[in-house]
Amino acid sequence: MEKTLDTFKVGEKGIIVAVNGEGVIRRRLFDMGVTPGANVVLRKKAPLGDPIEVTIRNYELTLRKTEAKNVVLKIVEGGE
């Protein structure tokens, strides 16, 4: 099943399929390692529900939901 990162629940895992959007934000996501094939775990949401924190490429990245909307992932069941 595929869905965008902003709809993930805490603890959900996925593999990036595509990164949409354009310009600065897309390039910034690429530069931070958000590229197809990378594993992503949604770690937590901020107290007000936004932004979100994910583990990607072995580090913690935070981004807003509007930015996360551009990231499409394939859900990984169960995890490790």
Binding site: V24, R26, R27, R28, D31, M32, G49, Y59, L61
Partner: protein
């Protein structure tokens, strides 16, 4: 001398390494992006001296942020002999992404693998030889924090600096490899250096390169039609970013062997890999969805309470000393140094302040009696004691609290908590057009604008920084508190208001509201732009290093003392002269609360200047309508520009002057007004001028929102781009004028509220339509 550039991701320990190599006192913080400009230092411990340039932390060499542009321009234009690429060994994949781009430039590169000590602690292993072989450049494992292996690193760097290296790329075997080669050949024919780097950036659609090499970019445009990648089509930027990470995973990451701890899950009986670090555990509490905000507020409260609290354990507030009358060291300059039954046990901040004030009072007294016995003239004594020492010492008295506040915030920053605060608060701040990162500098403003403005360096975009620096003074600093308490005290006794706290708190909130409105307006007009993206790394928590903390504080301390003895000293001398002499250079003799000669302060140059500018404040309620003594408020506002503590200090001098000259009779003031610090002086001003209550409130608002003190203006000048300061000062003047006049006019004539609402409405509509028009035009231009 060999010139070496230090490049690497934000927060990978670059500045720590820089300090370790050069022994400099550059600023270090645990927040991605603390270094904004490049800094230089000399490494002297090796076989040769090396000039080390610390570049800003970057994730990539894209053309989108000023840091990235500074870094790439430096390597291309300044041609360093070697680049040290600092790589965080605990975060290998993302750090090596920048490495793949640096390797494309024609410069020798040495990879310094940092945080090896942390890696060992996690029992992970990196095969250095394999990594070095696959990268094609030397790799040296180091620990910047423990200063391990730095000498070895620098010997390799010195050796590499003597050689030349042509750029190499991992992209040549990918689907865009042929295009890159073609563009590179075209650039080579033009005799361009760093042709591989430029070629790859052109293929990436890099906006800077496109403008520089339009002819070669045509090759890229032609090839776009012929290449079709199975996943990305002809999106070259995506293909390149993806290829880099894929290559890193397949060729570099294999050098890393991660240690895995296994435990047996009780429920399922299966083996589970434990990956939760201490950082994760701390984070679970500090950024908890329910308690995160509360914990943050509590931490903030303690920071301010330890710095500014007079009643540390609330013993006095709880009524622990009813009937007890005790003041420690009463009658000495150190009166109540740790404890007095009047206030309770002092916080460390107030304690240190009392110590310093005791010490400076002692010096003033010593100097005064010294001058006296040396037979110095009356005016010379007054100049030294009242003009020089009193002014400088009154500013210095805030030093302990500023340093303590700065220390606490440094600890929060170094541990990595500040980045989490941004994470918690971003949602709220985004509405006003700034990111969550802007919160820290703003809240620091309640302590002192100077460290607060310095803290804006962590903000992502220039526009966000300018907007934040401009509104920081509206978060009423500790030096403005005396204005608030004195005026509020006078208002409750003279105008029959019931509660002083309501006025004080109300004024604090007014400052915050003005700040919010100002940011909203700026972000929609002069500083218009997208809300900066918030794609940020959250660094792992770690204990701050003591020596690094002390470096921060010492840096700040030096800076502040230097300012106190230069700008503030000079301005104090000027003010003293202006208030001690008449326009015909007659000295106004004043001692022990009485004027000895025929002149009073009312005849001083300062008073005359005050009288000239007095009409300017008429719409604010403390101008021409106040009659012949109304200039006192104008003068108070002017002296406040040097230091806000001056406002009430000026009133106390002027109060004595007005009483002595018979303008006002202190005995007519209600009894009890003297109990509130400074309220008696403000009371005299009110009685002498007949100002109304809204005029006084407007005066507070004006002081809170106008140009801040000298020290803050100087900091703003240092922190902002050249040429921005003029507009910033203009902005402060306009804001304070509008805010203060609104209070006076609406308070005095309630129907004025309609005028203000109408003007605000017209302004909002105008801004909206103008922006819509601009958007339309840019859309047409882009299409």
């Amino acid at each position: 001398m060999i010139k070496v550039a230090l490049a690497g991701n934000p927060n990978c320990g670059k500045t720590t390494l820089f300090n370790g190599l050069t022994g400099s006192t550059a600023h270090v913080g645990n927040w991605p992006g603390v270094t904004v400009d490049k800094r230089e230092g000399v490494y002297k411990k090796g076989s040769e001296e090396v000039n080390v340039v610390d570049l800003p932390g970057i994730y990539s060499l894209s053309p989108y942020t000023p840091e990235e542009i500074i870094s790439r321009n430096f390597i291309i234009d300044e041609k360093p002999d070697c680049v040290i690429n600092l790589v965080d060994a605990t975060n290998l994949e993302r750090n090596l992404y920048l490495t793949t781009q640096l390797l494309e430039m024609d410069v020798p590169v040495v990879v310094a693998l940092n945080m090896m000590d942390v890696l060992e602690k996690n029992r992970d292993v990196i095969n250095i030889n394999l990594l070095s072989k696959n990268l094609g450049v030397p790799v040296v494992p180091i620990s910047a924090l423990k200063e391990d292996n730095l000498k070895e690193l620098m010997e390799v760097v010195i050796e590499q600096s003597k050689s030349k290296r042509a750029g190499s790329s991992i992209l040549l075997n990918t689907s865009v490899g042929e295009v890159i080669k073609k563009v590179k050949t075209a650039l080579d024919n033009d005799g361009l250096e760093n042709s591989l780097f430029h070629a790859i950036k052109l293929v990436e659609d890099d906006s800077i390169e496109k403008g520089m090499h339009p002819k070669e970019y045509n090759i890229v445009r032609e090839e776009k039609g012929s290449i079709k990648d199975p996943t990305f089509g002809n999106d070259f930027e995506a293909i390149i970013a993806d290829s880099r990470y894929k290559y890193i995973q397949n060729h570099y990451s294999i050098a890393l062997k991660k240690h895995k701890e296994e435990t047996v899950d009780k429920k399922t009986g299966k083996k589970v890999i434990v990956n939760e670090t201490i950082s994760d555990k701390i984070d679970k509490v500090l950024t908890n969805r329910v308690f995160g905000l509360i914990i943050f507020v509590v931490i903030l409260f303690f920071v301010f309470h330890f710095t500014f609290g007079e009643d540390l354990f609330y013993l006095n507030a709880m009524g622990a000393f009813n009937g007890v009358d005790y003041t420690m060291a009463a009658g000495t300059p150190w009166e109540g140094i740790i404890f007095s039954s009047g206030t309770g046990i002092q916080s460390p901040g107030v304690f240190l302040q009392t110590c310093l004030v005791g010490f400076t009072d002692w010096i003033t007294e010593l100097v005064g009696s010294g001058l006296d016995s040396a037979g110095a003239a009356n005016w010379a004594q007054a100049l030294v004691c009242d003009g020089l020492l009193a002014g400088v010492f009154s500013v210095l008295s805030f030093l302990p609290q500023i340093l303590l506040l700065f220390l606490f915030f440094s600890i929060l920053e170094d541990t990595g908590y500040m980045a989490r605060v941004a994470f918690i608060l971003d949602r709220i701040f985004r509405r006003f057009g700034v990111s969550g990162r802007a919160f820290m500098p703003m809240i620091m403003g309640f302590g002192c604008s100077v460290p607060a403005m310095t803290n804006t360096r962590t903000l992502a975009t220039e526009k966000e920084r300018i907007a934040t620096v401009r509104v920081i003074p509206f978060f009423s600093c500790s030096a403005k508190l005396p204005i608030l308490t004195a005026c509020a005290g006078a208002i409750i006794t003279l105008f029959g208001f019931s509660n002083a706290d309501v006025i004080t708190l109300g004024m604090y909130f007014t400052g915050i509201i003005v700040a919010i409105i100002a940011i909203l307006i700026m972000r929609n007009t002069t500083l218009r732009g997208e809300t900066p993206p918030f794609i940020m790394e959250l660094p792992a928590y770690h204990w701050p290093k003591f020596s690094s903390l002390m470096l921060h504080v010492w840096d700040k301390c030096k800076h502040f003392i230097k300012k106190a003895f230069t700008i503030i000293l000079i301005s104090n001398i000027i003010i003293w002269f202006l208030q001690s002499f008449t326009p015909s250079w007659q000295y106004i003799e004043y001692a022990d609360g009485e004027f000895l000669g025929e002149f009073t302060t009312n005849d001083s140059i300062l008073a005359n200047i005050g009288k000239i500018i007095q009409p300017l404040f008429t719409p604010l309620g403390f101008g021409s309508q106040l009659g012949s003594y109304g200039w006192v408020f104008a003068v108070g506002a002017i002296t406040g520009l040097i230091a806000k503590e001056n406002v009430i200090a000026t009133f106390s001098m002027l109060g004595a002057a007005l009483s002595a000259s018979g303008a006002v009779d202190p005995s007519t003031l209600p009894a009890g007004i003297e109990a509130i610090e400074g309220a008696g002086d403000v009371g005299l001003m009110i009685a002498a001028t007949g100002i109304n209550v809204w005029g006084v409130i407007s005066f507070i608002v004006f002081n809170m929102t106008t140009i801040p003190c000298f020290a803050a203006v100087a900091t703003a000048k240092a922190e902002l781009k050249k040429g921005t300061l003029k507009n910033t000062i203009f902005f402060w003047l306009i804001t304070s004028y509008i805010a203060a006049s609104a209070f006076y006019l609406i308070g005095t004539w309630w129907w004025c509220v309609f005028i203000y609402l109408a003007v605000a409405g017209i302004a909002i509509v105008t801004i909206h339509f103008v922006n819509k028009n601009i958007d339309k035009k840019t859309k047409v231009l882009n299409a």
